[in-house]
Every structure is written in structure tokens, then in C-alpha cells.
């Protein structure tokens, strides 16, 4: 394929990408996901710390999975939409609750210690027992679960730490075959205590209590000597899974502590975004004027390049948002603003090199080809170095600054695409025609052309 055809092809590809980007990101306020610091809400990083007596490196990935499940359950209880609980690093969870009204209440629920106990109902005051039985009788809805008042003191039969596993399952055999059950196994200490207790308490009720909130109140059917316990009731699959998760909280060897809590008011976040967007637009406008005044026609190409860069960038952000892997945060906005300078720089490198090569006595046509090539190589080297710092920041840093590193890296990628698919092909195509005809219009000093004519190094004739 000859260079001319290739350049037309590259430009066509660029136009397609820009159209695709616009389809992806219009309108940007709904197509680009906003992070919590912009849309407002509560964001908490919970760090797992080993409970007393456990060594620091005892936190396993399985523990974190369990912790994530538990926190997810708690957060779901809040009834907010689009909540998320993600793993962050090896020992932390990032909890995000957008648009929350009552952050104090949410924090309390997230921060509950997760203390699971088996309580002998006969040791509880009758008012509490009545409340539990009424609740059980009316379908035991999770949202209306009764709690044991703070004023009541009691000694639990067992603590949740004795539970080894808890799963939802189906019972087999007997009249209850096929019923959904929750099955749990216990460690040897638990087996012993549970056997002693159940032997003497058949047909008595035991309340399973998490942080003083009653989760279930089964009746002991028979002595359980091995610790393998089956809780049956009219569970749905969801209810059984939930109870199994609750039972596992006891065996969680870690405590979760909020280490980074950010509550952002919705109007504050939107104000900050508006400030960032205004700054980006004004910055781009001034840069555009500067480029056109300084480089004239070549400046117009640079400004078009900036527009294409911005389109590709927004398209990429919207595309990543659609896959749920990107959310624009305020640090991200700062990254976007910095990349405007980066994109302008690649154009400046190209323009300067192009002028300079003509000054050296090259024809406009050959300067267009070799000037853009040299400038892109320089610019790519410099881009890679910035990319390396951003990558280090993204991989190692914790918290919100990751958003800054990410947009910076994406911006660099868009900058390279812009140079290869737009700036170089367009300048090479124009170099053969328009720029050579009226160089002054394109910011090429006439004396540069004159210098070429007199020295005639590479021969103006070859360009005829």
C-alpha cells in the first residue's frame, strides 16, 4: 500500500473511533460512572486486624472472602441501591454506599463487631422471650428481628468462635426430607460444651444472636454429641444462606476496623465536579488559542488533535464505565487535566520539529514525513516515562490516588493513538498539497523556505 492510501486509511479509522467514542460517551454525565466523592455518599475502607491471640499474617484470603460476605449482608440491610463491597489489597475491604442519607447509622451497622452467641432462652426475661416467639410465629422477617435490650445480662451457652463451618443444605431422610436446612460443624471445644448442654435441654429453645439481634430461635430436638447440627425451619434458600453466613461470622478470626472513612454530601461532590470540568474547559480553550496564535494552520491541526484526544479519552472512560471497571473520582479529574498538557505537548513537538526540518532545507513533504516520525518517537519515549510513574502509583499506592494514576495512564494511551492515527497522517497528506503552497498560513517562516531554495540541499526540484 502506498503511503498516501495508508494515511487516508488511518484517518478514516480515526474518524470511526471518534464517532464510536461519541456514541459511547454522550451524554457524559450518565455514561461516565461517577465515583463516590463526586456523586456523594459514604465510602469506608475496612482493614482486617487479627483478633487477640492471632498472629498478624494469619489473615487468609478465605477469611477475607467471609468478611466480604458478612459486610455485604450488613450493607444490603441498609436498603441503599448500588452499594458495593470490594476487596482492596490483601487485608482490606472498600465499602461504598452512594447517596446515603444517614451515614451515622450506616457506620454503626458496618462497624458492628459481629459477636455471635447461642443463648439459652430460659435465661432471658419473659418479655424478650415473648417478643422472639411472636416474631418467629409471624414469619421471622429479617427486617423486624427483635434484639436483646442492652440492660439484659446473660451468659451464652456457646460463642460463635466454636463454629467450624456453616452451610445451607437440604435434609435427607425422615419426614422432613427435602426441607431446606442450615448445617453446622463445631470444633472439639464446641462439641463438648454443646453435647453437655443439649443432653439436658431437649425441647428447649436456643436463640442464635448476632450483636444482640436475634437471628433464629430453634428448638433442640435431640442431644447433639458430635457438634454436627442441623437447623431446620421453613427456610427459603435465601434465608438459609443468610443464616449460614451469620453463623460463620463467629468463626471469623479477624476484626474489621474502619481506617479510612469519607462521607461526601451530594451537593458538595457535584460542585467539585463542576469546578473541575470548568477548569478543564477553560484550560483547553486557552491552550487552543495559544496553539493557533503561535502555530497558525499547524495550530489548527493541533487543536483538532486536542479535540480528537478528548473524544477518544471520554469514549474510553465511558466504555470502561460500561464494563463497571471505571468510576471518575476527583483525583481522576486532576489526572485528566494534566493529560491535556501532555496531549498539547505532542502536537508542539510535532510542530517544532516540522518547522525545524524545513529550516534545515528539507522539502515540506519530506519534513512532514520525517519530522512527525522523529517527534512521535521523542514523544513516545517521554510518554513511557510518565506512564511508568503512573503505573507504579497505580500498583502500589492505596486509596483514592489510584484514580489519578489510572486516568493519567489512559490519557497517555489516547495521546499516542491521536498522534499515530490523526496528526501524522493528516500532516503528511497536507504537506504534499496545502502546506507546501502557502507555508506562511501554516506558521512556517518564509525565510525557512527561502533558505531551502538558496542552499537547495535536498533539492526543491524533486518536489515538483
Amino acid at each position: 500500500m502506498d503511503p498516501k492510501q495508508r494515511n487516508y486509511l488511518l484517518l478514516a479509522l480515526c474518524v470511526l473511533l471518534v464517532i464510536g467514542s461519541w456514541v459511547l460517551f454522550m451524554p457524559p454525565d450518565t455514561k461516565i460512572t461517577q465515583a463516590l466523592d463526586i456523586r456523594g455518599g459514604l465510602s469506608v475502607i475496612l482493614k482486617a486486624v487479627p483478633s487477640a491471640g492471632q498472629s498478624a499474617n494469619s489473615i487468609t484470603s478465605a477469611d477475607m472472602d467471609k468478611a466480604q460476605l458478612i459486610i455485604n449482608n450488613r450493607v444490603n440491610k441498609l436498603g441503599a441501591s448500588e452499594t458495593s463491597v470490594q476487596r482492596e489489597g490483601s487485608d482490606s475491604l472498600l465499602v461504598q454506599i452512594p447517596g446515603i442519607k444517614n451515614a451515622t447509622e450506616a457506620l454503626k451497622i458496618i462497624n458492628t463487631t459481629g459477636k455471635l452467641e447461642f443463648v439459652d432462652m430460659s435465661t432471658l426475661p419473659s418479655a424478650t422471650v415473648d417478643a422472639i416467639n411472636t416474631w418467629e410465629g409471624s414469619g421471622a422477617a429479617r427486617s423486624s428481628a427483635p434484639s436483646i435490650p442492652e440492660t439484659v445480662t446473660y451468659t451464652p451457652v456457646l460463642g460463635g468462635e466454636v463454629i467450624k463451618t456453616a452451610n445451607a443444605g437440604q435434609s435427607s431422610g425422615g419426614t422432613s426430607a427435602g426441607q431446606i436446612t442450615v448445617n453446622l460443624t463445631m470444633n472439639s471445644k464446641g462439641q463438648q460444651a454443646w453435647a453437655n448442654y443439649t443432653r439436658t435441654h431437649v425441647n428447649k429453645q436456643v436463640a442464635i444472636v448476632l450483636d444482640r439481634v436475634v437471628q433464629s430461635a430453634p428448638v433442640i430436638q435431640e442431644p447433639i454429641l458430635t457438634g454436627d447440627t442441623q437447623i431446620s425451619g421453613n427456610f427459603t434458600v435465601d434465608e438459609a444462606n443468610y443464616l449460614a453466613t451469620v453463623l460463620q461470622t463467629g468463626s471469623l478470626p479477624v476484626k474489621l476496623e474502619p481506617v479510612d472513612t469519607r462521607e461526601v454530601g451530594a451537593t458538595l461532590g457535584q460542585d467539585s465536579l463542576r469546578q473541575g470540568v470548568v477548569a478543564a474547559l477553560i484550560g483547553m480553550l486557552i491552550v487552543a488559542i495559544y496553539l493557533i496564535v503561535f502555530y497558525r494552520g499547524m495550530g489548527v491541526i493541533s487543536v483538532l488533535g486536542l479535540g480528537i484526544f478528548a473524544s477518544l479519552f471520554l469514549g474510553l472512560l465511558a466504555g470502561l464505565s460500561q464494563f463497571g471497571v471505571f468510576a471518575l473520582s476527583l483525583p481522576g479529574v486532576a489526572g485528566v487535566v494534566l493529560t491535556i498538557g501532555l496531549a498539547a505537548d505532542s502536537s508542539i513537538l510535532i510542530n517544532e520539529r516540522f518547522r525545524e526540518e524545513i529550516g534545515f532545507g528539507k522539502t515540506v513533504r519530506s519534513a512532514a514525513a520525517s519530522g512527525t516520525r522523529h517527534a512521535i518517537i521523542t514523544s513516545a519515549d517521554a510518554d513511557i516515562v510518565t506512564f511508568v510513574s503512573a503505573l507504579a502509583l497505580f500498583a502500589i499506592a492505596v486509596g483514592p490516588v489510584k484514580g489519578f494514576a489510572l486516568t493519567l495512564m489512559l490519557g497517555i494511551a489516547c495521546d499516542l493513538v491521536m498522534m499515530l492515527l490523526f496528526s501524522r497522517p493528516l500532516i503528511m497528506l497536507l504537506g504534499e498539497t496545502l502546506i507546501a503552497k502557502s507555508p506562511a498560513l501554516w506558521g512556517i517562516p518564509p525565510e525557512a523556505i527561502a533558505a531551502r531554495a538558496t542552499t537547495g540541499k535536498k533539492g526543491g526540484a524533486s518536489h515538483a
Binding site: T267, L338, G341
Partner: protein, 303 residues
């Protein structure tokens, strides 16, 4: 039209003295005044109040103290004429801090959705500090490696010298003025490392090109020509990079200002150090090589 012929290399001692003075002042400021770290590094609570209406600083402080926050410090922050406050406290419990912020906002009669409450636990700060330092070290090593492979190790060492120069001066300024260092500032500094190297690399790129088959002049005068050749680009790039971040500094709210300030200082210092520090040190070092030593002797009077 845009040709320059500034004798940078000939006046390199002046630039060295300027840099040396700046660095001595920076180190002095760091040693005497020290850096003021944000709550993210030390644990505590920051409440940003964006629109405070007619509430005074004293009322704000009173309300937060009454709501139960310890060691309350209130600072005014005005964004585009709209007055707001930044309230700092040593409180590390998120639940207490949030309850207090809600109480204080109703006390002074402000809506609760114009607040940002950030609470950082005491241990987490260490985590952030160490991860920032590791990121810095890894990024310097990676850049060193890349430049050594792509160009040569003398370039990578001088580039790092310029970089340390930039970091010291920026941090020194933060210490001198008493600006707070937040993780955002650290992130911006890390990014600026890459960006200031960007400038240095453009200069080195030109030196590498021009030094191929160098016989007619000394390395030093070739280096000076190279710097002049890319000077227009350096000025334009620095301006077009500075414009958006300066606008961000003027229009941005609290978080964005954090980034913008560090970026502005870093960009300015980076632009200067590629010409004033990296290029002359590299040229001096190259002239110790036998090949260029001979050239320097031959053209001793030319440069």
C-alpha cells in the same frame, strides 16, 4: 523567527549556584520547619464545609467543639468567592466524627449534604506513608532502568539528579509556606516526576541525535545547541501544561487544589531543571570521556 542562541552551558555555574541556593534553603526549611502532614498520614478527621453562608469561623469552631470533637482547628477556605471551612480534629473514630459533623451542621443551620467528612484511623496513616515511599522508589528505579536501556546510564543518573532537585525544592516550598502534605500532593509529586523527566528526555533525545559523529565542535557546545534547538518547544510545552493546572488551581475545590498546587510547582521546577541541571551535568560528565576530552581541548576557545 524562533531561533535561540542562549549560552546556557557557558553560564552553567550561575544556574548551579541558583540551584544550590534553592536546595540549601529547601533542606533548611525541611530541617527547621518540617512538613505538615495531613490527617491521612497521621490519623484524624477532616470536615470540609463547602458553602458556609454567614457562619463565622468562631461559630464553626464552637459548634464542632460542642458536638464533641477533640482538638478542633478551623481554617477558612474560599473557592471562587464562596466561603467554606476546613475543620480538622484528632478524632479517629468515624462514627463519632460523623455524628459530630451532623450535630454541628444543624447547630449552625447548614444543610447536611454540603459536607465532606474524612476520618482516617491511626494505623492506616503508616500504611499510606509506606506505600507512597515504595511507589516513589519503584518509580525511580523503573525510570532509571528504562532510560539506561533506551539511552545510557549517564543520562539516567543525571535525570535522577534533576529529579531529586525538583522534589527537594517542591517539598522545601511546602515546608517553608506551611502547606499541608496530603496523599493527593504525594500522588501529584509522583506524577510530576514522570513529567519533569519528560522534559529532560526531550533534551537528551536531541543531544543523542546531535552527538552521532560529532567532530566539528566540543560536546559542551553541541549540548548548548541542542538545548537551544528544543528551547521553543520547552517553553511552549511548559506553558500549555501549566495553563490547565493553573486554571485548576484557581477554579478547583479542596481536593483539586491539592493536586494543582503540587503540579504547578513541580512543572515549573521540572522545566528549569532539565536545562539548568540535567543538561550541563550530563555534558560535564560526557566531556570526561577520552573522545570528547580531545574535542573539548581542540575547540577550547569556541565554547
Amino acid at each position: 523567527m524562533h531561533k535561540f542562541n542562549v549560552n546556557f552551558m557557558g553560564n552553567r555555574n550561575i544556574m548551579f549556584i541558583v540551584s544550590a541556593v534553592l536546595i540549601v534553603v529547601a533542606i533548611g526549611a525541611l530541617a527547621v520547619r518540617g512538613l505538615k502532614f495531613g490527617v491521612e498520614f497521621e490519623g484524624g478527621t477532616v470536615v470540609n464545609v463547602s458553602k458556609s453562608g454567614s457562619v463565622t469561623q468562631a461559630q464553626m469552631s464552637q459548634a464542632f467543639k460542642k458536638a464533641g470533637l477533640a482538638n478542633v482547628q478551623v481554617q477558612q477556605s474560599t473557592v471562587r468567592g464562596v466561603r467554606g471551612y476546613i475543620v480538622r480534629s484528632s478524632e479517629t473514630s468515624a462514627a463519632i466524627a460523623n455524628t459530630a459533623a451532623a450535630k454541628a451542621s444543624s447547630e449552625v443551620g447548614l444543610p447536611s449534604d454540603g459536607f465532606q467528612v474524612t476520618t482516617i484511623g491511626p494505623e492506616w496513616g503508616k500504611n499510606i506513608t509506606s506505600s507512597s515511599l515504595v511507589a516513589l522508589a519503584v518509580s525511580i528505579l523503573a525510570i532509571l532502568l528504562y532510560v539506561s536501556i533506551r539511552f545510557e546510564y549517564k543520562m539516567s543518573v543525571t535525570a535522577i539528579v534533576a529529579l531529586v532537585h525538583d522534589i527537594l525544592i517542591t517539598l522545601g516550598l511546602y515546608a517553608l509556606v506551611g502547606w499541608e502534605v496530603s496523599p493527593n500532593v504525594v500522588a501529584a509529586l509522583l506524577a510530576i516526576l514522570g513529567y519533569s523527566l519528560y522534559d529532560t528526555i526531550v533534551v537528551f533525545h536531541r543531544m543523542k541525535e546531535n552527538s552521532a559523529g560529532l567532530v566539528k565542535q566540543s560536546f559542551m557546545s553541541m549540548a548548548n545547541e541542542s538545548v537551544n534547538q528544543v528551547l521553543m518547544r520547552s517553553i511552549n510545552t511548559s506553558l500549555t501544561s501549566l495553563i490547565p493546572v493553573v486554571v485548576l488551581l484557581i477554579f478547583g475545590g479542596v481536593t483539586l487544589k491539592d493536586y494543582a498546587l503540587a503540579l504547578v510547582i513541580g512543572l515549573a521546577s521540572g522545566a528549569y531543571s532539565s536545562i539548568g541541571v540535567a543538561a550541563p551535568i550530563f555534558a560535564i560528565w560526557k566531556e570526561t570521556e577520552p573522545k570528547y576530552k580531545a574535542l573539548a581541548k581542540k575547540y577550547a576557545n569556541a565554547s
